[in-house]
Protein backbone atom coordinates (compact mmCIF):
# COMPACT_ATOMS: atom_id res chain seq x y z
CA UNK A 1 0.00 0.00 0.00
CA UNK A 2 2.70 2.38 1.09
CA UNK A 3 4.83 1.39 -1.90
CA UNK A 4 2.02 2.12 -4.32
CA UNK A 5 1.41 5.51 -2.76
CA UNK A 6 5.08 6.43 -2.79
CA UNK A 7 5.24 5.42 -6.44
CA UNK A 8 2.26 7.64 -7.25
CA UNK A 9 3.86 10.56 -5.44
CA UNK A 10 7.20 10.10 -7.19
CA UNK A 11 5.43 9.76 -10.55
CA UNK A 12 3.58 12.96 -9.75
CA UNK A 13 6.84 14.73 -9.04
CA UNK A 14 8.40 13.43 -12.26
CA UNK A 15 5.54 14.34 -14.56
CA UNK A 16 5.33 17.68 -12.81
CA UNK A 17 8.80 18.48 -14.03
CA UNK A 18 9.08 22.14 -14.76
CA UNK A 19 5.35 22.56 -15.26
CA UNK A 20 4.68 24.07 -11.88
CA UNK A 21 7.23 24.04 -9.11
CA UNK A 22 5.08 26.83 -7.70
CA UNK A 23 3.03 24.05 -6.08
CA UNK A 24 5.98 23.26 -3.81
CA UNK A 25 6.31 26.85 -2.68
CA UNK A 26 2.57 27.00 -2.12
CA UNK A 27 2.66 23.75 -0.16
CA UNK A 28 5.40 25.22 2.04
CA UNK A 29 3.33 28.36 2.59
CA UNK A 30 0.38 26.27 3.77
CA UNK A 31 2.53 23.69 5.57
CA UNK A 32 2.26 25.27 9.01
CA UNK A 33 -1.54 25.14 8.76
CA UNK A 34 -1.09 21.37 8.42
CA UNK A 35 0.99 21.48 11.60
CA UNK A 36 -1.90 23.37 13.25
CA UNK A 37 -4.27 20.53 12.50
CA UNK A 38 -1.68 18.01 13.66
CA UNK A 39 -1.28 19.90 16.96
CA UNK A 40 -5.01 20.18 17.66
CA UNK A 41 -6.36 16.85 16.40
CA UNK A 42 -3.42 14.59 17.10
CA UNK A 43 -1.48 16.15 19.98
CA UNK A 44 -4.26 17.80 21.99
CA UNK A 45 -6.99 15.39 20.86
CA UNK A 46 -9.19 18.45 20.38
CA UNK A 47 -11.54 18.59 17.38
CA UNK A 48 -10.75 22.15 16.39
CA UNK A 49 -11.78 23.88 13.17
CA UNK A 50 -10.42 27.28 14.27
CA UNK A 51 -7.70 27.11 11.62
CA UNK A 52 -10.31 28.28 9.07
CA UNK A 53 -10.55 31.55 11.02
CA UNK A 54 -7.04 31.88 12.42
CA UNK A 55 -5.45 31.64 8.97
CA UNK A 56 -7.23 34.63 7.33
CA UNK A 57 -6.97 36.72 10.52
CA UNK A 58 -3.21 36.12 10.62
CA UNK A 59 -2.97 36.94 6.92
CA UNK A 60 -5.07 40.09 7.32
CA UNK A 61 -3.04 41.32 10.29
CA UNK A 62 0.18 40.71 8.38
CA UNK A 63 -1.09 42.48 5.24
CA UNK A 64 -2.42 45.56 7.02
CA UNK A 65 0.87 45.98 8.91
CA UNK A 66 2.91 45.67 5.72
CA UNK A 67 0.68 48.18 3.95
CA UNK A 68 1.20 50.56 6.88
CA UNK A 69 4.95 50.36 6.47
CA UNK A 70 5.97 47.81 9.10
CA UNK A 71 8.67 45.26 8.37
CA UNK A 72 7.44 41.91 6.99
CA UNK A 73 9.17 40.04 9.88
CA UNK A 74 7.22 42.04 12.44
CA UNK A 75 4.07 41.51 10.38
CA UNK A 76 4.54 37.72 10.39
CA UNK A 77 5.10 37.80 14.16
CA UNK A 78 1.85 39.71 14.60
CA UNK A 79 0.20 37.17 12.30
CA UNK A 80 1.21 34.57 14.87
CA UNK A 81 -0.26 36.67 17.69
CA UNK A 82 -3.53 37.19 15.79
CA UNK A 83 -3.85 33.45 15.13
CA UNK A 84 -2.97 32.65 18.74
CA UNK A 85 -5.72 34.98 20.01
CA UNK A 86 -8.22 33.21 17.74
CA UNK A 87 -7.14 29.91 19.29
CA UNK A 88 -7.50 31.46 22.75
CA UNK A 89 -11.12 32.39 21.93
CA UNK A 90 -11.94 28.78 21.06
CA UNK A 91 -10.17 27.48 24.17
CA UNK A 92 -12.03 29.89 26.46
CA UNK A 93 -15.43 29.05 24.93
CA UNK A 94 -14.66 25.37 25.43
CA UNK A 95 -13.51 25.82 29.03
CA UNK A 96 -15.92 28.49 30.32
CA UNK A 97 -19.14 27.34 28.63
CA UNK A 98 -18.19 23.65 28.39
CA UNK A 99 -19.03 23.70 24.68
CA UNK A 100 -17.10 20.99 22.87
CA UNK A 101 -14.31 21.97 20.49
CA UNK A 102 -16.21 21.33 17.27
CA UNK A 103 -19.01 23.77 18.16
CA UNK A 104 -16.75 26.24 19.95
CA UNK A 105 -14.55 26.55 16.88
CA UNK A 106 -17.52 26.95 14.52
CA UNK A 107 -18.69 29.86 16.68
CA UNK A 108 -15.21 31.36 16.56
CA UNK A 109 -14.90 30.95 12.76
CA UNK A 110 -18.21 32.76 12.31
CA UNK A 111 -17.08 35.67 14.46
CA UNK A 112 -13.60 35.59 12.93
CA UNK A 113 -15.01 36.50 9.52
CA UNK A 114 -16.15 39.87 10.87
CA UNK A 115 -12.94 40.36 12.84
CA UNK A 116 -10.93 39.74 9.69
CA UNK A 117 -12.95 42.35 7.80
CA UNK A 118 -12.37 44.84 10.61
CA UNK A 119 -8.65 44.09 10.69
CA UNK A 120 -8.58 44.84 6.97
CA UNK A 121 -10.29 48.16 7.70
CA UNK A 122 -13.58 47.13 6.16
CA UNK A 123 -12.16 45.93 2.85
CA UNK A 124 -12.53 42.31 1.78
CA UNK A 125 -9.24 42.37 -0.10
CA UNK A 126 -5.91 44.11 0.48
CA UNK A 127 -3.39 44.05 -2.39
CA UNK A 128 0.32 43.98 -1.46
CA UNK A 129 1.48 45.02 -4.90
CA UNK A 130 4.59 47.19 -4.67
CA UNK A 131 4.90 46.69 -0.88
CA UNK A 132 8.01 45.28 0.73
CA UNK A 133 7.35 41.62 1.60
CA UNK A 134 9.71 38.79 2.55
CA UNK A 135 9.69 37.78 -1.11
CA UNK A 136 9.67 41.09 -2.96
CA UNK A 137 12.55 42.32 -0.80
CA UNK A 138 14.90 39.69 -2.19
CA UNK A 139 13.30 38.87 -5.54
CA UNK A 140 15.31 41.29 -7.66
CA UNK A 141 18.72 40.37 -6.23
CA UNK A 142 17.84 36.68 -6.36
CA UNK A 143 16.76 36.87 -10.02
CA UNK A 144 19.95 38.64 -11.03
CA UNK A 145 22.04 36.08 -9.16
CA UNK A 146 20.10 33.14 -10.64
CA UNK A 147 20.39 34.41 -14.21
CA UNK A 148 24.11 35.05 -13.72
CA UNK A 149 24.70 31.54 -12.39
CA UNK A 150 22.38 29.41 -14.53
CA UNK A 151 21.48 31.51 -17.54
CA UNK A 152 18.38 33.25 -18.79
CA UNK A 153 16.06 30.20 -18.85
CA UNK A 154 15.86 30.38 -15.01
CA UNK A 155 14.29 33.84 -15.07
CA UNK A 156 10.74 32.50 -15.17
CA UNK A 157 11.24 30.20 -12.18
CA UNK A 158 13.06 32.70 -10.01
CA UNK A 159 10.10 33.73 -7.80
CA UNK A 160 9.03 30.13 -7.33
CA UNK A 161 12.55 29.08 -6.33
CA UNK A 162 12.90 32.01 -3.96
CA UNK A 163 9.61 31.05 -2.27
CA UNK A 164 10.76 27.48 -1.86
CA UNK A 165 14.06 28.56 -0.29
CA UNK A 166 12.60 31.26 1.97
CA UNK A 167 9.53 29.34 3.10
CA UNK A 168 11.48 26.10 3.41
CA UNK A 169 13.87 27.91 5.73
CA UNK A 170 11.05 29.42 7.82
CA UNK A 171 9.16 26.13 8.06
CA UNK A 172 12.34 24.32 9.17
CA UNK A 173 13.00 26.90 11.88
CA UNK A 174 9.41 26.72 13.14
CA UNK A 175 9.55 22.91 13.16
CA UNK A 176 12.79 23.09 15.15
CA UNK A 177 11.25 25.38 17.76
CA UNK A 178 8.15 23.18 17.95
CA UNK A 179 10.26 20.05 18.33
CA UNK A 180 12.04 21.66 21.27
CA UNK A 181 8.76 22.95 22.73
CA UNK A 182 6.96 19.61 22.60
CA UNK A 183 9.75 18.05 24.63
CA UNK A 184 9.80 20.63 27.41
CA UNK A 185 7.69 20.04 30.51
CA UNK A 186 4.84 22.14 29.13
CA UNK A 187 5.11 20.29 25.84
CA UNK A 188 4.94 16.92 27.59
CA UNK A 189 1.88 18.08 29.52
CA UNK A 190 0.19 19.23 26.31
CA UNK A 191 0.90 15.89 24.65
CA UNK A 192 -0.42 14.02 27.69
CA UNK A 193 -3.57 16.19 27.72
CA UNK A 194 -4.59 14.68 24.40
CA UNK A 195 -3.88 11.09 25.34
CA UNK A 196 -4.82 10.99 29.00
CA UNK A 197 -6.35 14.14 30.53
CA UNK A 198 -7.13 12.27 33.77
CA UNK A 199 -3.43 11.65 34.25
CA UNK A 200 -2.59 15.29 33.60
CA UNK A 201 -4.96 16.34 36.40
CA UNK A 202 -3.59 13.59 38.63
CA UNK A 203 -0.12 15.01 38.01
CA UNK A 204 -1.25 18.30 39.49
CA UNK A 205 -1.25 20.16 36.18
CA UNK A 206 -4.16 22.32 35.14
CA UNK A 207 -5.28 20.55 32.00
CA UNK A 208 -7.44 23.50 30.92
CA UNK A 209 -4.27 25.59 30.88
CA UNK A 210 -2.68 23.01 28.58
CA UNK A 211 -5.65 23.27 26.19
CA UNK A 212 -5.27 27.06 26.20
CA UNK A 213 -1.52 26.95 25.49
CA UNK A 214 -1.89 24.17 22.93
CA UNK A 215 -4.66 25.90 20.96
CA UNK A 216 -2.84 29.23 21.06
CA UNK A 217 0.42 27.79 19.73
CA UNK A 218 -1.37 25.68 17.12
CA UNK A 219 -3.53 28.49 15.76
CA UNK A 220 -0.65 30.94 16.02
CA UNK A 221 1.04 28.70 13.46
CA UNK A 222 -2.04 28.99 11.26
CA UNK A 223 -1.63 32.77 11.56
CA UNK A 224 1.98 32.45 10.42
CA UNK A 225 0.89 30.28 7.48
CA UNK A 226 -1.71 32.94 6.60
CA UNK A 227 0.99 35.62 6.75
CA UNK A 228 3.27 33.65 4.43
CA UNK A 229 0.54 32.83 1.93
CA UNK A 230 -0.63 36.47 1.83
CA UNK A 231 2.87 37.57 0.89
CA UNK A 232 3.09 34.78 -1.66
CA UNK A 233 -0.23 35.61 -3.32
CA UNK A 234 0.41 39.33 -3.10
CA UNK A 235 -2.93 40.03 -1.42
CA UNK A 236 -4.96 39.28 1.71
CA UNK A 237 -8.54 38.14 1.30
CA UNK A 238 -11.29 37.52 3.82
CA UNK A 239 -12.14 34.15 2.26
CA UNK A 240 -8.57 32.85 2.31
CA UNK A 241 -9.18 30.23 5.01
CA UNK A 242 -12.13 28.57 3.31
CA UNK A 243 -11.89 24.79 3.52
CA UNK A 244 -8.48 24.88 5.13
CA UNK A 245 -9.42 22.46 7.90
CA UNK A 246 -10.11 19.76 5.31
CA UNK A 247 -6.75 20.42 3.67
CA UNK A 248 -5.00 20.28 7.03
CA UNK A 249 -6.66 16.99 7.89
CA UNK A 250 -5.70 15.60 4.50
CA UNK A 251 -2.11 16.71 5.06
CA UNK A 252 -1.93 14.97 8.44
CA UNK A 253 -3.43 11.75 7.10
CA UNK A 254 -1.34 11.69 3.91
CA UNK A 255 1.78 12.25 6.00
CA UNK A 256 0.85 9.44 8.38
CA UNK A 257 0.07 6.97 5.61
CA UNK A 258 3.25 7.77 3.68
CA UNK A 259 5.79 8.03 6.49
CA UNK A 260 4.33 5.98 9.37
CA UNK A 261 5.73 8.46 11.92
CA UNK A 262 6.25 7.37 15.54
CA UNK A 263 8.32 9.98 17.35
CA UNK A 264 7.37 13.64 17.77
CA UNK A 265 9.96 14.79 15.25
CA UNK A 266 8.72 12.31 12.65
CA UNK A 267 5.11 13.35 13.26
CA UNK A 268 5.94 17.01 12.65
CA UNK A 269 7.80 16.21 9.44
CA UNK A 270 4.91 13.99 8.32
CA UNK A 271 2.40 16.85 8.68
CA UNK A 272 4.53 19.15 6.53
CA UNK A 273 5.23 16.42 3.98
CA UNK A 274 1.51 15.69 3.80
CA UNK A 275 0.73 19.30 2.93
CA UNK A 276 3.43 19.31 0.22
CA UNK A 277 2.15 16.07 -1.28
CA UNK A 278 -1.40 17.42 -1.21
CA UNK A 279 -0.53 20.62 -3.08
CA UNK A 280 1.72 18.86 -5.55
CA UNK A 281 -0.78 16.15 -6.39
CA UNK A 282 -3.53 18.74 -6.77
CA UNK A 283 -1.39 20.81 -9.12
CA UNK A 284 -0.57 17.62 -10.99
CA UNK A 285 -4.24 16.73 -11.46
CA UNK A 286 -4.89 20.27 -12.65
CA UNK A 287 -2.19 20.27 -15.26
CA UNK A 288 -2.85 16.68 -16.34
CA UNK A 289 -6.58 17.30 -16.90
CA UNK A 290 -6.16 20.91 -17.98
CA UNK A 291 -8.87 22.15 -15.61
CA UNK A 292 -9.95 25.78 -15.08
CA UNK A 293 -9.14 27.31 -11.66
CA UNK A 294 -12.85 27.50 -10.84
CA UNK A 295 -12.74 23.76 -10.17
CA UNK A 296 -10.10 24.03 -7.45
CA UNK A 297 -12.29 23.29 -4.41
CA UNK A 298 -13.82 20.25 -6.11
CA UNK A 299 -10.40 18.82 -6.91
CA UNK A 300 -9.31 19.57 -3.32
CA UNK A 301 -12.29 17.61 -2.03
CA UNK A 302 -11.41 14.71 -4.35
CA UNK A 303 -7.80 14.62 -3.16
CA UNK A 304 -8.95 14.65 0.47
CA UNK A 305 -11.46 11.90 -0.29
CA UNK A 306 -8.71 9.84 -1.88
CA UNK A 307 -6.38 10.39 1.10
CA UNK A 308 -9.08 9.45 3.62
CA UNK A 309 -10.80 6.75 1.62
CA UNK A 310 -7.93 4.84 0.02
CA UNK A 311 -6.50 3.40 3.26
CA UNK A 312 -9.99 2.27 4.35
CA UNK A 313 -10.83 0.70 0.98
CA UNK A 314 -7.47 -1.03 1.05
CA UNK A 315 -8.15 -2.49 4.50
CA UNK A 316 -11.53 -3.79 3.38
CA UNK A 317 -10.02 -5.27 0.25
CA UNK A 318 -7.38 -7.00 2.38
CA UNK A 319 -10.05 -8.39 4.72
CA UNK A 320 -12.05 -9.60 1.70
CA UNK A 321 -9.01 -11.40 0.30
CA UNK A 322 -8.37 -13.01 3.66
CA UNK A 323 -11.95 -14.29 3.78
CA UNK A 324 -11.39 -15.88 0.40
CA UNK A 325 -8.37 -17.62 1.93
CA UNK A 326 -5.91 -15.77 -0.26
Amino acid sequence: MRGILLAVVVAGFMSLGNVNIGAIGQGLGYALAGVTVFMTFRVLGFVDLTVDGAFPIGGAACAILIVNGHSPEFAVLMGFVAGALTGLATALIDIIFKIEGLLASIIVITAAYTVTLHVMEGKSNIPLLGEETLISRHSKAFRTWLVEQFGDQMRRQSTNLLEIILFGFIVLIVLGILYWFLRTEIGLAIRATGKNPQMVRATGLNHNMMIVIGLMVANGLAGVAGSLVVQQFGFADVSLGFGLIVRGLAAVIIGEVLLRPRTVGQLLIAAVTGMLVFDISRAWIFSALDLPTTDIQFVSALVVLAALGAPRLYDRWKAYRQRLGG
Binding site: T184, L188, R191, A192, Q198, M199, R201, A202, G204, R262
Partner: protein
Protein backbone atom coordinates in the same frame (compact mmCIF):
# COMPACT_ATOMS: atom_id res chain seq x y z
CA UNK B 1 -3.69 12.55 58.18
CA UNK B 2 -6.95 12.37 56.23
CA UNK B 3 -10.24 13.21 57.85
CA UNK B 4 -13.75 13.17 56.39
CA UNK B 5 -16.48 14.80 58.42
CA UNK B 6 -20.08 13.85 57.55
CA UNK B 7 -19.51 13.89 53.82
CA UNK B 8 -22.53 13.28 51.57
CA UNK B 9 -22.71 13.03 47.79
CA UNK B 10 -25.94 12.84 45.80
CA UNK B 11 -26.13 12.28 42.07
CA UNK B 12 -29.07 13.60 39.99
CA UNK B 13 -30.47 15.36 43.04
CA UNK B 14 -34.16 16.23 42.74
CA UNK B 15 -34.84 13.85 39.86
CA UNK B 16 -36.42 10.37 39.88
CA UNK B 17 -32.90 9.00 39.32
CA UNK B 18 -31.56 10.48 42.53
CA UNK B 19 -28.77 8.35 43.99
CA UNK B 20 -27.32 9.00 47.40
CA UNK B 21 -23.83 7.71 46.72
CA UNK B 22 -22.35 8.74 50.07
CA UNK B 23 -24.37 9.30 53.25
CA UNK B 24 -22.70 11.19 56.10
CA UNK B 25 -19.38 9.42 55.81
CA UNK B 26 -16.92 10.18 58.61
CA UNK B 27 -13.49 8.64 58.47
CA UNK B 28 -10.08 9.27 60.00
CA UNK B 29 -6.87 7.85 58.55
CA UNK B 30 -3.67 8.52 60.51
CA UNK B 31 -0.25 9.12 58.99
CA UNK B 32 1.40 5.84 58.05
CA UNK B 33 -1.88 3.95 58.34
CA UNK B 34 -2.93 1.51 55.60
CA UNK B 35 -6.70 1.06 55.26
CA UNK B 36 -8.44 -1.38 52.94
CA UNK B 37 -12.01 -0.73 51.75
CA UNK B 38 -14.37 -3.49 50.66
CA UNK B 39 -17.98 -3.46 49.56
CA UNK B 40 -20.25 -4.63 46.77
CA UNK B 41 -20.80 -2.76 43.52
CA UNK B 42 -22.51 0.57 44.03
CA UNK B 43 -21.53 0.72 47.69
CA UNK B 44 -19.88 4.11 47.14
CA UNK B 45 -16.22 3.08 47.23
CA UNK B 46 -15.23 4.87 44.04
CA UNK B 47 -17.37 7.89 44.90
CA UNK B 48 -15.49 8.05 48.20
CA UNK B 49 -12.22 8.24 46.26
CA UNK B 50 -13.63 10.76 43.79
CA UNK B 51 -14.72 13.06 46.57
CA UNK B 52 -11.34 12.80 48.30
CA UNK B 53 -9.37 13.40 45.09
CA UNK B 54 -11.67 16.19 43.89
CA UNK B 55 -13.25 14.46 40.88
CA UNK B 56 -16.64 14.80 42.64
CA UNK B 57 -17.94 17.54 44.91
CA UNK B 58 -19.77 16.78 48.17
CA UNK B 59 -23.24 18.22 48.93
CA UNK B 60 -22.27 18.64 52.54
CA UNK B 61 -19.48 17.83 54.94
CA UNK B 62 -15.78 18.61 55.03
CA UNK B 63 -12.58 16.91 53.96
CA UNK B 64 -9.28 17.71 55.64
CA UNK B 65 -5.81 16.65 54.69
CA UNK B 66 -3.40 17.32 57.55
CA UNK B 67 -4.68 20.64 58.87
CA UNK B 68 -6.02 21.98 55.59
CA UNK B 69 -9.65 21.97 54.49
CA UNK B 70 -9.50 20.74 50.88
CA UNK B 71 -13.25 20.23 50.37
CA UNK B 72 -13.53 22.68 47.49
CA UNK B 73 -10.02 22.58 46.06
CA UNK B 74 -9.94 21.75 42.34
CA UNK B 75 -8.67 18.31 41.46
CA UNK B 76 -5.33 19.37 40.04
CA UNK B 77 -4.53 21.39 43.16
CA UNK B 78 -5.07 18.57 45.63
CA UNK B 79 -3.24 16.10 43.47
CA UNK B 80 -0.06 17.71 44.81
CA UNK B 81 -0.79 15.85 48.02
CA UNK B 82 -2.81 12.91 46.76
CA UNK B 83 -1.50 10.13 44.53
CA UNK B 84 -4.09 7.93 42.86
CA UNK B 85 -3.82 4.62 41.00
CA UNK B 86 -6.77 3.26 39.03
CA UNK B 87 -7.87 -0.24 38.17
CA UNK B 88 -7.27 0.30 34.46
CA UNK B 89 -3.49 0.32 33.85
CA UNK B 90 -4.05 2.59 30.84
CA UNK B 91 -5.33 5.43 33.01
CA UNK B 92 -2.18 6.05 35.03
CA UNK B 93 0.36 6.42 32.27
CA UNK B 94 0.30 8.19 28.96
CA UNK B 95 0.73 6.27 25.69
CA UNK B 96 2.76 8.02 23.01
CA UNK B 97 5.16 9.25 25.67
CA UNK B 98 8.21 7.27 26.73
CA UNK B 99 8.79 5.95 30.27
CA UNK B 100 11.24 8.79 30.78
CA UNK B 101 8.69 11.37 29.65
CA UNK B 102 5.97 9.88 31.85
CA UNK B 103 8.23 10.00 34.88
CA UNK B 104 9.23 13.57 34.00
CA UNK B 105 5.58 14.58 33.99
CA UNK B 106 5.08 13.06 37.41
CA UNK B 107 8.20 14.86 38.65
CA UNK B 108 6.66 18.24 37.76
CA UNK B 109 4.22 17.65 40.62
CA UNK B 110 3.92 20.48 43.05
CA UNK B 111 5.31 23.23 40.86
CA UNK B 112 4.41 24.79 37.54
CA UNK B 113 5.50 23.20 34.30
CA UNK B 114 8.20 25.28 32.67
CA UNK B 115 10.37 25.30 29.59
CA UNK B 116 12.92 22.93 31.13
CA UNK B 117 13.92 20.02 28.95
CA UNK B 118 12.06 16.93 30.09
CA UNK B 119 14.62 15.39 32.45
CA UNK B 120 17.84 16.44 34.07
CA UNK B 121 20.62 13.93 34.51
CA UNK B 122 20.23 13.85 38.29
CA UNK B 123 16.59 12.91 37.95
CA UNK B 124 17.39 10.37 35.33
CA UNK B 125 19.67 8.34 37.61
CA UNK B 126 17.00 8.54 40.28
CA UNK B 127 14.37 7.20 37.85
CA UNK B 128 16.80 4.46 36.97
CA UNK B 129 17.18 3.40 40.62
CA UNK B 130 13.45 3.43 41.20
CA UNK B 131 12.80 1.22 38.20
CA UNK B 132 15.74 -1.05 38.91
CA UNK B 133 14.38 -1.84 42.35
CA UNK B 134 11.31 -3.39 40.79
CA UNK B 135 13.20 -6.05 38.85
CA UNK B 136 10.94 -5.56 35.85
CA UNK B 137 13.79 -4.85 33.47
CA UNK B 138 12.38 -1.40 32.76
CA UNK B 139 15.45 0.59 33.85
CA UNK B 140 17.10 0.01 30.49
CA UNK B 141 13.99 0.86 28.51
CA UNK B 142 13.54 4.48 29.60
CA UNK B 143 13.00 5.52 26.00
CA UNK B 144 10.37 2.88 25.22
CA UNK B 145 6.83 4.06 24.46
CA UNK B 146 4.63 3.25 27.46
CA UNK B 147 2.00 1.87 25.07
CA UNK B 148 4.31 -1.09 24.42
CA UNK B 149 4.41 -2.22 28.08
CA UNK B 150 2.27 -4.83 29.82
CA UNK B 151 -0.49 -3.91 32.26
CA UNK B 152 1.63 -4.93 35.24
CA UNK B 153 4.57 -2.87 34.05
CA UNK B 154 2.37 0.15 33.46
CA UNK B 155 0.77 -0.22 36.88
CA UNK B 156 4.22 -0.45 38.50
CA UNK B 157 5.30 2.74 36.73
CA UNK B 158 2.04 4.42 37.76
CA UNK B 159 2.79 3.53 41.40
CA UNK B 160 6.30 4.97 41.18
CA UNK B 161 4.84 8.10 39.53
CA UNK B 162 2.14 8.45 42.20
CA UNK B 163 4.70 8.33 45.02
CA UNK B 164 7.48 10.18 43.19
CA UNK B 165 6.98 13.50 44.94
CA UNK B 166 6.01 12.09 48.33
CA UNK B 167 2.28 12.82 48.53
CA UNK B 168 0.50 12.78 51.90
CA UNK B 169 -2.08 10.25 50.77
CA UNK B 170 -2.15 7.39 48.30
CA UNK B 171 -5.49 6.19 46.90
CA UNK B 172 -5.47 2.74 45.27
CA UNK B 173 -8.64 1.87 43.38
CA UNK B 174 -8.56 -1.91 42.83
CA UNK B 175 -5.21 -1.32 41.22
CA UNK B 176 -4.37 -5.01 40.82
CA UNK B 177 -7.80 -6.20 39.67
CA UNK B 178 -6.97 -6.08 35.97
CA UNK B 179 -3.62 -7.86 36.29
CA UNK B 180 -2.69 -11.53 36.08
CA UNK B 181 -1.87 -13.13 39.48
CA UNK B 182 1.90 -12.87 39.03
CA UNK B 183 1.86 -9.21 38.06
CA UNK B 184 -0.67 -8.49 40.83
CA UNK B 185 1.66 -10.03 43.41
CA UNK B 186 4.58 -7.92 42.20
CA UNK B 187 2.52 -4.74 42.22
CA UNK B 188 1.25 -5.48 45.76
CA UNK B 189 4.81 -6.04 46.98
CA UNK B 190 5.84 -2.74 45.41
CA UNK B 191 2.82 -1.02 46.97
CA UNK B 192 3.82 -2.15 50.46
CA UNK B 193 7.43 -1.21 49.91
CA UNK B 194 6.60 2.29 48.68
CA UNK B 195 4.01 2.89 51.42
CA UNK B 196 6.49 1.93 54.16
CA UNK B 197 9.43 3.77 52.64
CA UNK B 198 7.45 7.02 52.39
CA UNK B 199 5.36 6.61 55.57
CA UNK B 200 2.22 7.28 53.53
CA UNK B 201 -1.43 7.32 54.44
CA UNK B 202 -2.83 4.63 52.13
CA UNK B 203 -6.45 3.83 51.34
CA UNK B 204 -6.95 0.84 49.07
CA UNK B 205 -10.19 -0.37 47.53
CA UNK B 206 -10.10 -4.07 46.85
CA UNK B 207 -12.54 -6.68 45.62
CA UNK B 208 -10.44 -9.46 47.11
CA UNK B 209 -11.20 -10.59 50.67
CA UNK B 210 -7.76 -12.15 50.78
CA UNK B 211 -6.06 -8.82 50.03
CA UNK B 212 -8.28 -7.07 52.57
CA UNK B 213 -7.07 -9.50 55.23
CA UNK B 214 -3.41 -9.58 54.19
CA UNK B 215 -2.77 -5.88 53.69
CA UNK B 216 -2.98 -2.87 55.94
CA UNK B 217 -4.01 -2.15 59.52
CA UNK B 218 -7.74 -1.70 59.22
CA UNK B 219 -10.63 -2.95 57.05
CA UNK B 220 -13.65 -0.81 56.22
CA UNK B 221 -16.79 -2.30 54.77
CA UNK B 222 -19.01 0.03 52.77
CA UNK B 223 -22.61 -0.57 51.82
CA UNK B 224 -25.17 1.73 50.20
CA UNK B 225 -23.14 4.87 50.76
CA UNK B 226 -22.40 4.16 54.42
CA UNK B 227 -19.52 2.67 56.35
CA UNK B 228 -21.16 -0.52 57.60
CA UNK B 229 -18.37 -1.71 59.88
CA UNK B 230 -14.67 -1.36 60.62
CA UNK B 231 -12.31 -4.04 61.82
CA UNK B 232 -9.11 -2.90 63.50
CA UNK B 233 -6.66 -3.86 66.22
CA UNK B 234 -6.54 -7.43 67.57
CA UNK B 235 -9.61 -8.55 65.62
CA UNK B 236 -8.06 -7.34 62.36
CA UNK B 237 -4.82 -9.26 63.01
CA UNK B 238 -6.62 -12.57 63.27
CA UNK B 239 -9.04 -11.83 60.44
CA UNK B 240 -9.65 -14.56 57.84
CA UNK B 241 -11.41 -14.12 54.49
CA UNK B 242 -14.13 -16.49 55.74
CA UNK B 243 -14.87 -14.14 58.68
CA UNK B 244 -15.28 -11.23 56.31
CA UNK B 245 -17.64 -13.20 54.11
CA UNK B 246 -19.73 -14.10 57.18
CA UNK B 247 -19.90 -10.45 58.18
CA UNK B 248 -20.98 -9.64 54.62
CA UNK B 249 -23.85 -12.15 54.77
CA UNK B 250 -24.99 -10.90 58.15
CA UNK B 251 -25.91 -7.54 56.62
CA UNK B 252 -29.62 -7.03 57.04
CA UNK B 253 -30.38 -6.17 53.43
CA UNK B 254 -28.83 -9.34 52.07
CA UNK B 255 -26.28 -7.68 49.79
CA UNK B 256 -24.88 -10.33 47.51
CA UNK B 257 -21.19 -11.05 47.02
CA UNK B 258 -19.89 -11.64 43.54
CA UNK B 259 -17.96 -14.80 42.72
CA UNK B 260 -14.80 -12.77 42.27
CA UNK B 261 -15.06 -11.47 45.80
CA UNK B 262 -15.59 -14.93 47.23
CA UNK B 263 -12.76 -16.49 45.27
CA UNK B 264 -10.25 -13.66 45.04
Amino acid sequence: MLSLDQVSVTFNAGTPNEVRALRDISLLVEDGEFVTVIGSNGAGKSTLFNVISGAAEPDSGHIQLDEEDITYWPEHRRSHDIGRVFQDPRLGTCPGLTIRENLSLAAIHGRNAGFRRDVKMAEESWFFEQLERQHLGLENRLDADVALLSGGQRQAITLVMATLTKPKLLLLDEHTAALDPNAAEQVIALTQELAEANDLCVVMITHSMQQACDLGDRVIMMNRGRIEFEIAGEERKNLQPADLIDRFHSLADGTELTDAQLLG
